[in-house]
């Protein structure tokens, strides 16, 4: 985590009246405060927020849709043909969308391949390419590209990012490692995952709640900040890092309250939706998996449409998922144990295929929804970069030296209908982190290296 130095003006007036935020800053906690007025986003004259980047055209959003346990290689292929793209059976639901996608083959994360734990060593680093700590007492991976983006773009929206999922974390170890690793593909820092939200009602509340309720809580939160201050100096370094998570949380609640109040007065491009167009979801977890997934997709679309966030990740299942696909006709058994590790039994392979098609259908649904929404002269889908992927290719073999990845959306930024097969290229040219560099650059970041890559991936290359 970056710890930059504090920049408190030393005027007396300030000292006497320490504001909450000044206090936070003076605590020396991660001070890349993206939402601070000091970054010059607020017009001096009007006090309103304004953007320097094309203020009147819709912004680009990024979402990563993840499914666990890989694919069956025989089902997962695509090639360009005279008549368009030809795809393997795993991709069947995407056939009418071939013009909107880029099929990527051969991308990988070096550290994942090297890791001894075939599952947990290869999941949490999907979007960072970092090494997964194998020390039982140390949770550590690396900051992921979506969270890097969130820090870059998060100042502009109520939520810096949306981290969604379906399954809760299992309370057990696998290969001596915490199952936390299998449940988090977004990491705010090396040592802190962005925990996903699996309750639709809470996502809804975070997106559209007006903050009035929380306003009342501010006095409480202010006070607990004081508690934190009074104990912080007495703690050792590692405990301070933990306590700083708590401080960050308070700050982020306050930020949301402020953003909720300011959304009305934003200058520049305006989202096409200001009031939610979904009913508030019921409390609790939906018991029906397809409904749960659809609801989360709908919320994701609404978040983008209302411009409440521009960055999202969404885990359709956890790694080592025990998700039971009995809701698909002709499928029974658990995803991981029965269907992925199927011993090449044809009947089970067919079920495995159905589950992967089901995952692809979730992408298709998301694309359809995004395409149905107009944003000025474009479709919302054109203003979204979607990455659909798993961390393993051949799931049965825990194969990580390539990963199934599909890009979608992007409008003119990303001409579709193409297959980018990098399989035969040298390792330096097929790093997943290179793809992330490209995507982050497309999202407006000036960044030249990330993870194990020091060059972006050329998505327009002809192979």
């Amino acid at each position: 985590m970056a710890h930059s130095k504090s920049i408190i003006p030393k005027s007396n007036a300030f000292d006497q009246n320490l504001s909450r935020r000044t206090f936070l800053r003076s605590m020396g906690i991660s001070l890349a405060l993206p939402w601070m007025p000091s970054l010059g986003l607020r017009s001096e004259a009007t006090g309103k927020l304004s953007y320097s980047v094309s203020p009147l055209s819709p912004p680009t959003r990024f979402a990563c849709l993840y499914f666990s346990n890989g694919v069956e290689p025989e089902h997962w292929w695509a090639r360009e043909d005279k008549g368009g793209m030809v795809m393997g059976p795993g991709l069947a639901p995407l056939r009418s969308f071939s013009q909107d996608i880029v099929f990527l083959k051969g991308l990988f994360n070096q550290q994942a391949v090297k890791h001894p734990s075939p599952h947990l060593g290869r999941v949490p680093n999907l979007l960072s390419g970092a090494w997964v700590s194998d020390d039982q007492d140390l949770i550590k991976v690396g900051e992921t590209m979506d969270q890097r983006l969130a820090k870059h773009l998060g100042m502009r929206t109520r939520l810096p990012s949306l981290v969604l999922g379906i399954e809760p974390t299992e309370m057990r170890l696998e290969d001596g490692l915490s199952m936390l690793y299998g449940s988090c593909i977004s990491w705010e820092s090396d040592t802190k995952p962005a925990m996903k939200e699996i309750y639709p009602s809470r996502v809804f509340e975070a997106l559209v709640g007006d903050g009035t309720q929380r306003q009342l809580d501010r006095s409480v939160l202010d006070e607990t900040l004081q508690d934190a201050r009074s104990i912080r100096n007495r703690l050792n370094h590692r405990d301070r890092i933990k306590l700083d998570e708590y401080l960050e949380s308070i700050r982020s609640i306050e930020r949301r309250i402020e953003m909720a109040a300011e959304e009305e007065s934003l200058e520049g491009w305006q989202p096409t939706l200001t009031e939610p167009n979904l009913p508030p979801p019921a409390e609790g977890l939906p018991q029906d998996i397809p409904r749960h997934m659809k609801l989360m997709s709908d919320l994701l679309v609404m978040a983008f449409q209302m411009d409440r966030t521009r960055v999202a990740t969404y885990m359709l299942n956890n790694d080592l998922s025990q998700m039971n696909f009995g809701f698909l006709e002709g499928v029974s058994g658990s995803l991981h144990l029965d269907l992925t590790h199927n011993g090449r039994d044809p009947a089970l392979e067919a079920m495995y295929l159905r589950t992967n098609q089901f995952h692809v259908q979730q992408l298709v649904y998301l694309m359809e929804r995004l395409r149905s929404i107009e944003e000025g002269d474009s479709k919302l889908l054109d203003n979204c970069l979607l990455l659909f992927c798993s961390n393993l290719f051949d799931g049965d073999k825990h194969q990580a030296d390539e990963m199934p990845m599909i890009l979608a959306g992007g409008g003119s930024q990303l001409p579709g209908g193409r297959v980018l097969d990098l399989g035969s290229r040298p390792a330096e040219e097929r790093r997943a982190c290179g793809l992330y560099l490209t995507l982050m650059q497309k999202m407006g970041m000036t960044i030249t290296s990330f993870g194990d890559a020091d060059r972006p991936l050329d998505l327009n290359a002809r192979i």
Binding site: P116, D137, S178, A194, R214, L221, D239, G326, N342, G343
Partner: protein
């Protein structure tokens, strides 16, 4: 003295080196290895064996099973690779390595290697032995949060879906700081939970307490519950009204017996008589005021009939010798004629009054003095009413109080029932039956009840509508009234309004008087919740917070107090288990003793999964606890406390994975229609009770595997096909100690474990074997190689291949065999248990269940009994796993090399067959438990 301290601190180092030297000396003295050899490093001495027998497979080039022995032999790195060396020791000692197909070292060589590793572990661990290690500040887990709230408020609330979920780390427990995070959404959940708790705080005229239902409705229900409890406990009722149960009627024989004893004694003076009344009534558990009242009534000379009739019957009782003291039990029957007189006259009066309620007499006498009854009736009713009080809420049959119309279905009567709701008539009870303490509690409960909604305003509205239906300026708010405006009211109305207004002020005053007490209680709650003494700064901060809410934010006392509690419960001091080091010059040392409060907190979270209770916290504050004898006396007290049950689910539940088994969704419901919530709950209860019993009985750890006992209810007995099924009807869970006869008993026969180790629609030999190796024996196999591929473990539809044939694949491939030769036989031994734990002899397809397996060393394991025999021969491994888990759970970190001495002590205790408490005791007395590391070791 100060300048000396750094030197003292540094003395640790030379001491540690000494210890190592001593260790070396011991090693030399052992003589099994030549003296010259002993001076060489471990790496040199182990190198020859490793090179000859291991490096072929475990080199840096090809670290099979991710074991790179070459790098582990880097000089000076033994500590770092302690877990790996430890596992090398186990595998070689168990004869599993080198594998059978490789050239075998001589038994002497193997022995030398294992002894060398063991020695080195001992020597290396002596350096810094008992190091507390890097324990990261822990946040309350979901389970701990629930326990703490239960202990703090007495409430059992369900926040399982609300609070942030847990992951596990270290040795597999949720109470590990590394896997605990807080992000803004979590903090919001904590806010929501704290508000839900604060809403259940009853803030009334008495002390604060918590009630299960939230808000003002909760206050109303709590008040009515308290009122009824006092009424029932102290009052009496003759069964007035439909379906009403009589109670408290035994007061009559008791009081007559007391009067009889008094009448047969002579007392020097009134004081002596009063003393006699007090002492007798205490023995009879009745109120002295009641006794005095009745005694007076029976003695009075001016009595009319019917009082006279009762006192006549009393006076006709046989006398007893004043020196003897006949017991109540032996003489209560004597009182029957007197009681009969009372009953008879009560009934007679009730009949004479026809449709009017007999209890109206009480009304008349006690409240208004209006509609005066006859002096005779009044006299009698004052002494012997049929009820001591009336229902707080007038039932349909009860009349509503004057001045309102009590006519059935009259709008006024209905309005009273719906809006005013309550009516207090307990004068007799208050005056004669309650002690001062109960009277205060009853008054407080009534104040709480009548302030839980707009009782006074509703009453005022009704009065206006009754006397002055067309009020010119509308009906005033009760708080707008004062003495002058009341004086100006019309005659009929004035008296009623004045009484009502006075009562309203009384209630308000009673509440205000309670405010300071409430604040004190909140501060005390903060002390408990934060698990440390409040500093003056803390106190002032909390009080200022309350005052600011009141004054600046214009909140009511209730709202401000709730806000204060929320603030206490979302503070990092509550949510995190802080262990701030002592403020002393010793801070510069790397390892220091925990403060008393931190130690008390560690102890209670380890044993109870919750905060310390008052006694423990107080001993933590005054540092008593840091002395072993005090620590142990608390331990001995705490381990038999009912809260100790939580240790069963928190420690054993997380270790073996049945923690929150009720939430397990890994069973294919379409294949197992009987997999319903009730069965899932029963399997959870079966597992929990088994371990609670072990913990509370203070049994031995070995019973986990070898016990023949278990807890079964009827549904489970049927599910498992046990003969006890018929006898268990309606019996709930019962301990059955003969489960061994039916092939059950112990951890490995728990249905929850079978479900957890199955695939959704079938059992899995591999998963179960793997589970036993990981969780029970603590010797997990490494992950499969990437290119291992998989085998088909489940049969195709209608296929009759045996599981053994399917799994035979493992035996063909050299890369599979070394791990599967360990997993599969253990898994096969559990094939006699189906997915849901039910016994089976044949598979669904009709093939017989195969439950034998042969270990690499040729040992045959046959079924569940065979598995238990195998476990019995490998009990050391199980004990070793227990040590690792206990250390991981208690300390919040993984086991490390410097724990070796503790492990040895624990192992010795386990081998000696000591009960569980002995191992827990060793744990809490260990230096790693009582100290903390303030800086990372260098």
């Amino acid at each position: 003295m100060l300048p000396l301290l750094p030197f003292q601190a540094k003395q640790d180092r030379p001491l540690a080196i000494d210890a190592r030297l001593i260790g070396m000396a011991c090693l030399v003295a052992l003589g099994s290895i030549s003296e010259g050899f002993a001076l060489e490093s471990f790496e040199v001495r182990a190198g020859a064996f490793i090179r000859d027998h291991c490096l072929e497979c475990h080199s840096s080039q090809m670290p099979k099973g991710e074991l790179d022995l070459e790098i582990m032999l880097t000089p000076g790195q033994f500590q770092r690779y302690y877990p790996e060396w430890s596992s090398v020791l186990d595998r070689v000692a168990q004869g599993e390595m080198p594998p059978a197909e490789a050239d075998q070292p001589s038994p002497q060589e193997k022995l030398e290697l294992t002894e060398l590793i063991a020695e080195t572990i001992r020597n290396e661990s002596a350096q810094g032995s008992g190091d507390p290690g890097a324990v990261i500040m822990r946040r309350l887990t979901r389970g701990e949060y629930h326990h703490v709230i239960k202990d703090l408020t007495g409430l059992t609330l369900d926040f399982w879906d609300l609070l942030p979920g847990d992951a596990v780390g270290g040795e597999g427990f949720a109470s590990h700081g590394q896997v605990q995070f807080v992000q803004s959404s979590d903090l919001e959940r904590y806010l929501d939970a704290a508000k839900a708790i604060a809403a259940r705080m009853v803030i009334g005229a008495g002390p604060l307490f918590f009630y299960q239902d939230p808000g003002m409705l909760g206050q109303e229900w709590s008040a009515i519950t308290r009122i009824n409890e006092i009424y029932r406990h102290h009052g009496f009722r003759n069964g007035a009204g439909e379906g009403a149960e009589p109670y408290g009627l035994d007061l009559w024989p008791r009081v007559f017996y007391l009067c009889w004893r008094l009448a047969n004694q002579t007392h020097e003076d009134e004081e002596a008589e009063s003393e006699a009344i007090v002492s007798l009534s205490r023995r009879l558990e009745i109120s002295p005021a009641f006794a005095e009242h009745i005694y007076y009534q029976l003695q009075r000379a001016d009595a009319f009939e019917p009082l006279q009739a009762v006192s006549k019957a009393f006076k006709e009782l046989p006398a007893h010798d004043p020196l003897s003291a006949p017991s109540f039990e032996s003489s209560s029957a004597l009182m029957d004629p007197v009681v009969a007189q009372v009953r008879q006259w009560q009934q007679k009066l009730a009949r004479a009054k026809a449709d009017r309620e007999e209890t109206d007499l009480l009304d008349a006498v006690a409240l208004m003095g209006q509609a005066s009854p006859s002096p005779a009736a009044m006299q009698f009713a004052l002494a012997f009413p049929t009820v001591s009080h009336r229902e707080p809420a007038p039932s349909d049959r009860d009349p509503i109080p004057r001045p309102f119309t009590s006519q059935y279905n009259h709008p006024e009567r209905n309005a009273f029932h719906y809006q005013v709701k309550y009516h207090r008539q307990d004068d007799y009870l208050v005056r004669y039956l309650l002690g001062p303490k109960e009277r205060e509690q009853l008054d407080q409960a009534w104040d709480d009840l009548l302030s839980a909604f707009d009782y006074h305003q509703a009453n005022l509205n009704l009065l206006y509508e009754h006397f002055q239906p067309i009020a010119e300026d509308g009906i005033p708010r009760i708080e707008e009234l004062d003495a002058q405006s009341i004086d100006l009211l019309e005659d009929d109305l004035r008296g009623w309004v004045r009484a009502l207004h006075a009562h309203w002020r009384e209630v308000g005053e009673a509440h205000r008087l309670a405010y300071p007490g409430h604040l004190d209680q909140c501060l005390e709650m903060a002390r408990l919740a934060w698990r440390h003494d409040l500093t003056e700064g803390d106190r002032q901060q909390l009080l200022t917070f309350y005052r600011t809410r009141r004054e600046m934010d214009q909140l009511s006392h209730r709202e401000a107090l709730q806000s204060l509690l929320v603030r206490i419960l979302v503070s990092p001091k509550f949510l995190y288990r802080l262990e701030p080091p002592q403020k002393s010059p010793l801070e510069s040392r790397e390892v220091i003793a925990l403060t008393g409060e931190s130690l008390a907190t560690r102890l209670s979270f380890m044993l109870w999964g919750s905060m310390p209770d008052l006694a423990l916290l107080n001993d933590g504050r005054n540092q008593n606890i840091v002395e072993s004898e005090h620590l142990l006396s608390h331990f001995n007290r705490m381990r038999i406390h009912p809260r100790m049950r939580r240790f069963a689910s928190e420690f054993f539940g997380q270790w073996f994975g049945f923690y929150r088994f009720v939430e397990f969704r890994g069973v294919d419901t379409s294949r197992f229609p009987n997999w319903e919530d009730a069965l899932r709950q029963d399997l959870q209860t079966e597992a929990t009770l088994f371990f609670e019993d072990l913990v509370m009985r203070d049994g031995r750890v070995s019973e986990i595997l070898f016990s023949d006992a278990g807890f079964i209810n009827q549904r489970l007995a049927q599910h498992y096909g046990l003969p006890e099924a018929a006898e268990l009807e309606g019996a709930g869970f019962v301990k059955i100690s003969s489960l061994g006869e039916h092939g059950r008993g112990g951890l490995l026969a728990l249905g929850a474990i079978h479900a957890l180790t199955s695939a959704p629609a079938r059992t899995s030999v591999v998963k179960r074997g793997d589970w036993i190796l990981r969780r029970v024996l603590g010797t997990p196999v490494p992950p499969p190689p990437d290119d291992a591929g998989s085998l088909q473990e489940s049969r195709r539809e209608g296929e009759a291949t045996s599981i053994r044939d399917l799994l035979a694949f493992h035996q063909r491939d050299a890369s599979c065999v070394s791990c599967h030769a360990r997993m599969d036989p253990l898994g096969f031994a559990m094939e006699g248990f189906g997915v849901l734990g039910q016994p089976r002899l044949v598979y669904e397809e009709g093939l017989p269940v195969e439950q034998t397996g042969t270990m690499a060393d040729g040992r045959l394991i046959d079924g569940y009994q065979g598995l238990r025999d195998y476990m019995s021969d490998h009990i050391e491994l199980f004990y070793r796993t227990f040590c690792r888990k206990l250390i991981g759970y208690s300390l919040g970190r993984a086991e490390q090399l410097t724990d070796h001495a503790l492990v040895e002590a624990l192992m010795q205790s386990l081998r000696a067959g000591d009960p569980l408490s002995a191992q827990l005791k060793l744990m809490i007395l260990s230096p790693q438990f009582q100290n903390q590391r303030t800086q990372e070791s260098k």
